[in-house]
Structures are given as structure tokens and as C-alpha cells.
């Protein structure tokens, strides 16, 4: 045995040790730790340094929403709806502790109003306040008398002297209208034109994105729904919750992962069989891919302590790249002289192999330049996988495949023969015409290319979930949790005053029907300043001697003592109502999330908007402009703008990567280095043009795919450049096998229903196809050796 082979044996044993450690670690992860991949799409989004108050406000608005499942059970008849709802609840009760009904306070109306009753003089609607300033004393006298004499003049709370002018009941009515939901028969009731619904807010114990939640909650909800429909066949059940979206996304990703993984494997197996007429190469290629995959899993888990399902999906497509090394070696083994030892052959191939690995790793590492944790995981996962697969090829293949073990299949022969007839890039008139045409078409395509960075285009929830969501927001008139005003101030009082100022600016938008309304702490607890102003206003306009109160007393033949007593009763000195006091009472329960309280010495609150249309967004943004301590928060726009920034940024990274790879290739290929990069560059330009011509909007994931395309296609250029000339068809065979497999892997990714992955896959599909066809066109035909 020559020393070269001996050395290589040591290397192989060493690698075997590493692989054993890998297998052990993976077994531990899957069997002992029972790891489960993340499915939270938000984990893929950038984590930003933000200020605590903003973070806190988001937690308040979104986290609460995340753990909620809202169920509406409706029927034309209330009794049917109730029966269906009871059947629904009975099923939920079979698994206690999974979903908990949000408790209803069985407060009677009187108790509900008690906290406000004593502050009633300070609680006015904006309309009442305006009326107090403008209307005549006679108007108020008439209003009070009509209220006294008429049989029913609307809600009457407490005795006449508690609210002689009906102001407090008007305020209560306005508050009641902040939500269309009403208690009825110990249930919550809401209705539209067609049906009456029982509303059941539920809280989940397990985090919405945990697998446990999805595996227990979703089936339980489904069973409950069936029971409700059985109890009342005409009933309609509407369910909404983050957990449903999470579960839909993860089951979709799981299905796609297995499809893509299996599809590309099947493709590889078939192709290898037709090329080598042997099962051994298949086993070898699968071995290298498998070790690459397990290695990535181990390293990612050690580095990040978690793995995202989408990382695995993306990792499944890695198969398309990891195979290149094995295929390259095997193709060369096939065509090399059987007398040449495999270790020696490897030595001959090593420079090219090293270059391909480096170029691909650089390509994948481009993903690591993004602020998205999920993409960073994908970058590490991919790069590590490639290194492990590559090392497996280098350490083991030469010892496992000796000369003469492989025979060429018919497919390889026929395919190899095509190279001789391939057109070539030469500096002549025809090439110039083609180039000019290409530039014209590509230019036209590029000019039509729009961009779309909307975060919502990254996800594609099933239609029935979206429909339910829309129906639910219409019924409940609930505010969106991702767009709101954040108000800050040095004290609770300042926050309330700023809220009131902001609401005055929003009122015109309500009048113009741009928004339905707003929810704010100051709706319930006006600032102390406002409370004092209103007390003074009511006192001077209504209760002062000679005013409407005296006129009412005279009309009903009461004396001045009665009106003095009534005035004293109403104007009894009280400490103003404060948020702290309000938050202790049951009526504050639905509004507690609006008050952030004291965070590091800053007081903050949320003003949420009801019935908002997307069209009103710019106006809303403007409404808060220039106000001290008021900030418009739009999570959707924020994330979308981050995506946009990174799309542009990644565009530069791609160009940078071309420069880096060129620098990497130049010392070896000199004047021919451009030939290696030309196919991926031209294919990328053409791909973008195709996207433009087909009316697709460019998004980050297209650009990321172009990055990957560089990593993949550079391999082909290198294979061809390592063996210049057209007599040796081996590299062309390696290119064909790799490209076909890559297309299988990424082409299947293009079938994904997740828009981000689809964009990625589609770009790879078009790009790889074009590059494959272009590689021989740009390849060098002169058979000179490298320096």
C-alpha cells in the first residue's frame, strides 16, 4: 500500500469518528430530547433594538391576542345558537386545562356603573360638552322636564337627582357602543343581519406556536365545532386565532418538506441509476447528503438551541447542491483510466473541488448577512451541510470507489454527445446581434419589474381562515393589534391629556368615516384637568342659581331648598377618577391592555382604532404628526420596510459576492475566470427579466435566490474550466447531473404554497435552467493546462 493511500485511510477513520459522534448527538436530540422544530413565522423576522416602551406596547397588544382563540357560534334563532354553543362548550370541557373560557363578570348593571356614578359630573361625551357650551338654558330645562314626564326616555340610571339632565346616561351609552357585544343569558351576544351569535373568548395555556398547542388545541376545536353543528345543523361556527394560522403554516411546511425532500431524492436516485448503471453511486451520494444534513442539524442545534421548520424545508433543498461533490468525483472516476488510483484521482480533482465548496459556501453565507434569525440559521445550516457532505466525499469516496467499479449508462453516452454540437461564444457579428437582442429584451423586462416588500406576501394562510378573520372583525368591530398610537408622558395625567389632544385630531376622521372610532383610557378616565373643567362647566351652565336646575324645580313646584340639595348632591367634592382606580374595577377588564403604566419612569398608553381601512393609514400617520409624546406604530409597515431595505442591501451583497468569487478564481484561471461567472451572471439577468415580463413583483426572496444561484452555478463553470476542451465530456456530465438534480430540488420548492419559498424556488428554477444551457456556450475550448 503506498503511503498516500495509508495517509488517506487515517483520514477516513478520523472522519468515521466524527460521523459516529454526529450520529450519537442526533440520536440524543431526536430520541432523548424529543426536539421539535419551531413554526413561529415571526422567528424568521428581524429582531431589532427597540425602545422598551414600544416593545412593551407590542407585547400588550400582540401577545395577549396570540394566546386568544375567539369562537362565534351563530344561528338565526338565539335559542339554536345557545344550544350549539352549549354543545361546543361540552366538548371543550372534556379536556380541561387546554382552553379556558375567559371569565364573564356576572356584575349586575348597577354594580358595573358604581365606580363611575360618583364621578358622573366629570364624565361627558364630546358632543355633550359642545352642547353645554352652545345650547340655551331653556334647552336644558326642556330636556330635564321631558325626561321627567315621558314614559321612557332612554336609559335611566339611578334616581332622577343623580342625573337630572341625562348627561351621564348619554356617556354610558357612548361607552356601551365601544363594543357591539352584549351580555345575554349569561353568555356574550353579538348579531348581524342574518344571525345571532354566542361569543366565546378562549385562552390557551400552551404558547400558540408550540407543537403541543397545535396538536391539542386545533383538533379539540374541530371536534367542538362538529358537536355544535350536530346540535344545530343550521348553525355557523366562526373561529379565529393565531394558533390556527400557526398550525396551518406548520402542517403545510411539513407536507412540503417531505414532498420536496422525497421528490429530490427520487430524482437523484433515478438519474444516478441511468448514468452509472449501479446502485453504489446512489448509496454514496445519499451517504454524503445524509451526513451533511445530520451535521447541519447538530451544529445548528448546538449554536442556536433551536431549529425552525422553514430552515429544514430550505435544508431539504440543500440536497440539490450537496450532491455536486459526489457526482463530480464519480463522473471523473467513470471516465478516468481504471489503472489510476482513486486517491491519486482525488488529488487531481482537489483544487476544483475546493473552489466549488468555497464558492458555494460564500454564496450561502450571503444569507447570513441578513438580520433575520431564520435566514441566518438557514445560512449556517446550508454551509455546514455542504462542508460535511464535501468532507465525506473527500475522506471516504476514494476508498469506497476504486477504478473500474463504474460503467457508463446509455443516458450518459447520449447526453455527453450533445456537447460537441453546442454553440459557442465567439466574438463575431452573430454574437453581437444576439447580445444586442438580449440586452433589449432584458432591459424591457427589467423596466417592467415592480417590487413588493409587503410582509403579508410572505405568508399565505388558507382562505377559510382569512374569511373567518374578516367576518369576525366585522362582527366585533375589534381594533387591529398591529397598528395603533403609542402615547407617552412623564406622568399618567400628561399621558391622558395627550390622548385627549390626539382624539380631537382623530374626530374629523371619524366624521369623514375614515375610521370607526378609537379605544383609549381617556374615554373612561378623562385627565384631571378635563374632569375639573367639566365639573365647572356643568356647575355654571346647569346648576348655578337662576339656571336650568332652578327652572326645573319651579316647573315641578319644588322649592329652592330642593335645587340646592340636588346641586350639593351632584357637586359633592371628590378626588378625581384616576386610571389606577379604574383599573381595579370590573368594567376596566376589556381595556386593561390599553394602559401600559409606568415603564422605567415613562408613563405610556395605547390608543387603538376601530373600523380602520388600509386607505386611511396615511391620514392616521399624519394625524399624530408633530404631537409631543405621540407615536404612530405600524408593525406591518415597519417589517415591510425592513424587508425592502434588505432586498436592496442583498442586491449589493450579490454583486459583492460576484467580485469576491472572481477574486477567488482569478489566481487559478486568469483570463478565463470570467467564463466561470458568465453563466450565472447572464442567467440572473435573464431570470429577472422573465420575472418582469410575467408581471411578478421583486421581493427579498428572489434576490436571496440569485445569491444561491451564484453559489450553485459557479460549480458548473469550475467543472468545465477544470477540464477545458470538448473531447472530455465528463464535466459536462457532472454539470448535467447536478443541474437536473438542483432543478428537481428547487423546482419542487417552486411548487410550495408559501409565497416566499415559491419565489425562491421559481428564481432557482429559471436561473438554473438557463445557466445549464449557457455553461458550454461560455466554456473554454482551448485545451491548455492551468497555472
Amino acid at each position: 500500500m503506498n503511503p498516500e493511500v495509508k495517509r488517506h485511510k487515517w483520514l477516513a477513520w478520523l472522519w468515521a469518528l466524527v460521523v459516529c459522534a454526529l450520529l450519537g448527538h442526533n440520536a440524543y436530540l431526536w430520541v432523548v430530547q424529543r426536539i421539535v422544530p419551531d413554526t413561529d413565522i415571526l422567528a424568521l423576522l428581524p429582531v431589532q433594538e427597540r425602545d422598551r416602551v414600544l416593545q412593551e406596547s407590542f407585547t400588550h397588544m400582540v401577545d395577549a391576542a396570540q394566546q386568544r382563540v375567539i369562537v362565534l357560534v351563530g344561528a338565526a334563532e338565539w335559542n339554536d345558537a345557545k344550544r350549539a354553543a352549549d354543545a361546543y362548550n361540552a366538548v371543550l370541557a372534556t379536556q380541561p386545562g387546554v382552553l379556558e373560557a375567559v371569565k364573564l363578570s356576572d356584575e349586575t348593571q348597577g354594580d358595573w356603573l358604581a365606580p363611575f356614578q360618583k364621578h358622573s359630573v366629570a364624565l361627558l361625551t364630546a358632543q355633550q360638552e359642545a352642547q353645554l357650551r352652545s345650547a340655551s338654558p331653556q334647552f336644558w330645562t326642556d330636556a330635564a322636564l321631558a325626561k321627567l314626564y315621558s314614559a321612557f326616555s332612554g336609559p335611566k340610571l339611578g334616581a332622577f337627582r343623580d342625573d337630572p339632565f341625562g348627561l351621564f346616561s348619554g356617556w354610558v351609552q357612548e361607552r356601551a357602543q365601544e363594543t357591539p357585544v352584549r351580555p345575554r343569558d349569561d353568555k356574550l351576544f353579538v348579531a348581524d343581519g342574518e344571525r345571532q351569535y354566542v361569543l366565546m373568548p378562549l385562552t390557551m395555556r400552551a404558547p400558540a406556536f408550540s407543537m403541543t398547542a397545535q396538536q391539542t388545541v386545533v383538533p379539540l376545536l374541530e371536534r367542538a365545532k362538529q358537536a355544535a353543528l350536530k346540535a344545530a345543523p343550521q348553525a355557523k361556527v366562526i373561529t379565529a386565532g393565531v394558533v390556527l394560522h400557526a398550525s396551518a403554516a406548520s402542517s403545510q411546511a411539513e407536507g412540503e418538506m417531505s414532498t420536496i425532500g422525497l421528490g429530490s431524492l427520487a430524482g437523484i436516485v433515478l438519474l444516478t441509476w441511468f448514468t452509472f448503471r449501479s446502485l453504489r453511486p446512489i448509496a454514496l451520494v445519499l451517504l454524503s447528503i445524509g451526513i451533511g444534513f445530520l451535521g447541519s442539524l447538530s451544529v445548528c442545534w448546538l449554536l442556536f438551541g433551536r431549529i425552525h421548520l422553514l430552515t429544514l424545508v430550505f435544508g431539504a433543498s440543500l440536497i440539490g447542491v450537496a450532491q455536486d461533490y459526489g457526482i463530480y468525483f464519480l463522473c471523473n472516476r467513470l471516465s478516468a483510466d481504471p489503472a489510476e488510483g482513486s486517491v491519486r484521482l482525488l488529488k487531481r480533482l482537489l483544487p476544483g473541488l475546493c473552489l466549488t465548496l468555497l464558492a458555494a459556501v460564500i454564496g450561502y453565507m450571503g444569507l447570513g448577512f441578513t438580520p433575520f434569525p431564520g435566514l441566518r440559521h438557514m445560512a449556517v445550516f446550508s454551509a455546514v451541510g455542504l462542508v460535511f457532505a464535501w468532507l465525506t466525499v473527500v475522506c471516504w469516496f476514494p476508498l469506497l470507489v476504486s477504478g473500474g467499479t463504474l460503467t457508463t449508462g446509455a443516458l450518459a453516452h447520449r447526453y455527453g454527445a450533445t456537447l460537441a454540437h453546442w454553440p459557442q461564444a465567439r466574438l463575431n457579428a452573430r454574437t453581437l446581434v444576439i447580445a444586442a437582442l438580449f440586452v433589449a429584451v432584458a432591459g424591457f423586462g427589467w423596466s417592467r419589474l415592480g417590487v413588493n416588500d409587503d410582509i403579508r406576501s410572505l405568508q399565505n394562510p388558507p382562505k377559510h381562515l382569512i374569511d373567518d378573520q374578516i367576518k369576525l372583525s366585522k362582527l366585533l368591530d375589534a381594533p387591529t393589534p398591529v397598528q395603533y398610537f403609542l402615547v407617552r408622558g412623564a406622568s399618567a395625567e400628561i399621558v391622558l391629556q395627550r390622548e385627549e389632544e390626539l382624539k380631537r385630531r382623530l374626530d374629523p376622521l371619524i366624521a369623514a368615516k375614515r375610521i370607526g372610532g378609537y379605544q383609549a383610557m381617556s374615554n373612561w378616565v378623562p385627565s384631571v384637568r378635563t374632569q375639573l373643567e367639566r365639573r365647572a362647566l356643568i356647575d355654571s351652565k346647569l346648576l348655578a342659581p337662576g339656571g336650568p336646575l332652578d327652572a326645573v324645580a319651579k316647573a315641578i313646584e319644588e322649592d329652592s331648598a330642593w335645587s340646592a340639595a340636588t346641586r350639593a348632591h351632584l357637586m359633592a367634592p371628590r378626588a378625581p377618577l384616576t386610571p389606577a382606580e379604574f383599573l381595579k374595577t370590573p368594567p376596566s377588564e376589556p381595556w386593561r391592555h390599553l394602559w401600559l403604566g409606568d415603564i422605567d419612569g415613562v408613563h405610556a398608553s395605547i390608543v387603538a382604532l376601530r373600523g380602520m381601512s388600509m386607505a386611511a393609514l396615511p391620514e392616521l400617520r399624519r394625524a399624530g404628526e408633530g404631537m409631543e409624546g405621540v407615536q404612530w406604530v405600524d408593525k406591518v409597515a415597519e417589517i415591510s420596510s425592513v424587508l425592502g431595505r434588505y432586498r436592496q442591501y442583498m442586491g449589493w451583497v450579490v454583486l459583492g459576492a460576484y467580485a469576491v468569487v472572481f477574486a477567488l478564481l482569478y489566481p487559478r484561471y486568469r483570463g478565463n475566470a470570467w467564463r466561470v461567472l458568465a453563466p450565472s451572471a447572464v442567467a440572473s439577468i435573464a431570470t429577472l427579466a422573465v420575472l418582469g415580463l410575467t408581471g411578478q413583483a421583486l421581493q427579498l426572496f428572489h434576490v436571496l435566490a440569485l445569491m444561491l444561484l451564484l453559489g450553485v452555478v459557479v460549480d458548473y463553470g469550475i467543472f468545465m474550466q477544470e477540464h477545458p476542451g470538448r473531447r472530455n465530456t465528463t464535466p459536462w456530465l457532472a454539470v448535467g447531473l447536478s443541474a437536473a438534480n438542483t432543478l428537481l430540488a428547487f423546482g419542487l420548492l417552486g411548487l410550495s404554497r408559501t409565497p416566499a419559498l415559491q419565489a425562491f424556488g421559481l428564481t432557482m428554477l429559471i436561473g438554473t435552467t438557463l445557466a445549464w444551457l449557457l455553461v458550454p456556450y461560455f466554456a473554454n475550448t482551448k485545451e491548455n493546462e492551468h497555472a
Binding site: T108, Q109, Y149, A151, P155, A159, F160, R182, A191
Partner: protein, 200 residues
């Protein structure tokens, strides 16, 4: 009666199968006209006030349309209850409006008042325990809200009458009492004036 509107917003309907015996008898005594109009005289005794407050006016109950309650003296005020809203007018001005869109209970309130004025006890039984007796061609019933919250808000209601409801008495928890007497009852198409028809 005033409290009814707000109280019903938290009211409860418990379906009761079948009407009890006296109620069936009373139902048999009552006429069921599609249009019923007449005069009402109302007296209120409010806690903390020396004198009762007297008012009168006209009312109309039109099946399938709603209820019109017009206080004429001493202070004109019109209340209109229809399927979709409850509106109170002071002269031309809308003093109060409750829309079914915003207050789903408007429909329920409307149906209860309609039942109350037309004596549809079967309907009332869903919300109240009805206790009644019949003497010859007259009857009387006491209504007790099935829900404590509702009872607290509107107190006790009693009705009596013959072919039509004659008297309604409401005693509230706060001590306020309201008596309403109906008279000059007319039924059929001719009962409602043009002005009233236009209002409803």
C-alpha cells in the same frame, strides 16, 4: 318603565315551554287587533319629590311595525319604537336614538313593550315569571323578572284589564312609582290618525 330599556340590555330570555293555565285564559280574553290606539294618563311618584308628576298623551301599537308613544302634556315628546331603532323626539329634534345595529337589544326591548301594551303574555313569559288571575271578563297579572339584575333595574310590574290592557303599575327598587291608565281605546285601520301613521 323608563328603566326597561336599559335593563333589557342585560336581560335574559329563558324559554318556557307552553303557557300556564291562567295565562291561557287571559290570552283568550284579550283582543288581538293589528292596530290599537288610545289615550294614556301617567302619574309618577318620584322619591324625594313632594308632588306626583302627571302627564298624558296618545299611544299606538301597530302589529309588525312598532309602538308610538306621544306625550302631549305638559311637555310634548314622542317616542317611536320600531324593529331597527328607538327614537325620542323633542319637537323636531331627535333627543335620543338607539339603533339595533349598535344596540342589538333594541329588538328585544321593542318586542317586550309591544307585548306589554298589547298584553301578549306568552311572549312576556320568556323574561318574567307571570302570576295572574281571572275574574269573569277581567284579569290581572304580576310580572317578576326572572333575572335578579333585571328585577333590580325595573322592579315589579303589574297589569290588569279586560279585552285590552287597562292599567300598568311599576314599582322600582329606588322607590319611584309609575301608574299608567289607558282609555278611549280604538282598534282597526281607523284608529290611527294620519299624523301618527306618518310618524310610525
Amino acid at each position: 318603565m323608563k328603566r326597561l330599556i336599559f335593563a333589557l340590555a342585560i336581560g335574559a330570555a329563558c324559554a318556557v315551554a307552553g303557557a300556564s293555565a291562567p295565562i291561557a285564559k287571559i290570552q283568550a280574553l284579550l283582543a288581538k287587533p293589528t292596530v290599537l290606539c288610545g289615550r294614556f294618563d301617567q302619574t309618577k311618584h318620584l322619591a324625594g319629590m313632594k308632588k306626583p308628576l302627571a302627564s298624558n298623551g296618545r299611544f299606538c301599537v301597530v302589529a309588525g311595525k312598532g309602538v308610538l308613544w306621544r306625550t302631549l302634556k305638559p311637555f310634548p315628546n314622542t317616542l317611536r319604537l320600531t324593529r331597527d331603532e328607538i327614537v325620542s323626539f323633542q319637537g323636531e329634534r331627535v333627543a335620543m336614538r338607539l339603533e339595533a345595529k349598535q344596540e342589538p337589544t333594541v329588538r328585544m326591548i321593542n318586542s317586550v313593550l309591544f307585548s306589554l301594551l298589547s298584553g301578549d303574555l306568552g311572549q312576556l313569559e320568556t323574561l318574567f315569571e307571570v302570576d295572574g288571575g281571572v275574574e269573569g271578563s277581567t284579569w290581572n297579572v304580576a310580572l317578576k323578572a326572572r333575572q335578579p339584575a333585571l328585577a333590580k333595574a325595573i322592579g315589579a310590574i303589574s297589569l290588569d284589564g279586560g279585552a285590552y290592557v287597562k292599567n300598568i303599575q311599576i314599582v322600582e327598587a329606588s322607590g319611584d312609582k309609575t301608574f299608567i291608565v289607558f282609555s278611549e281605546i280604538k282598534t282597526g285601520e281607523g284608529a290611527i290618525t294620519l299624523e301618527e301613521a306618518a310618524l310610525l
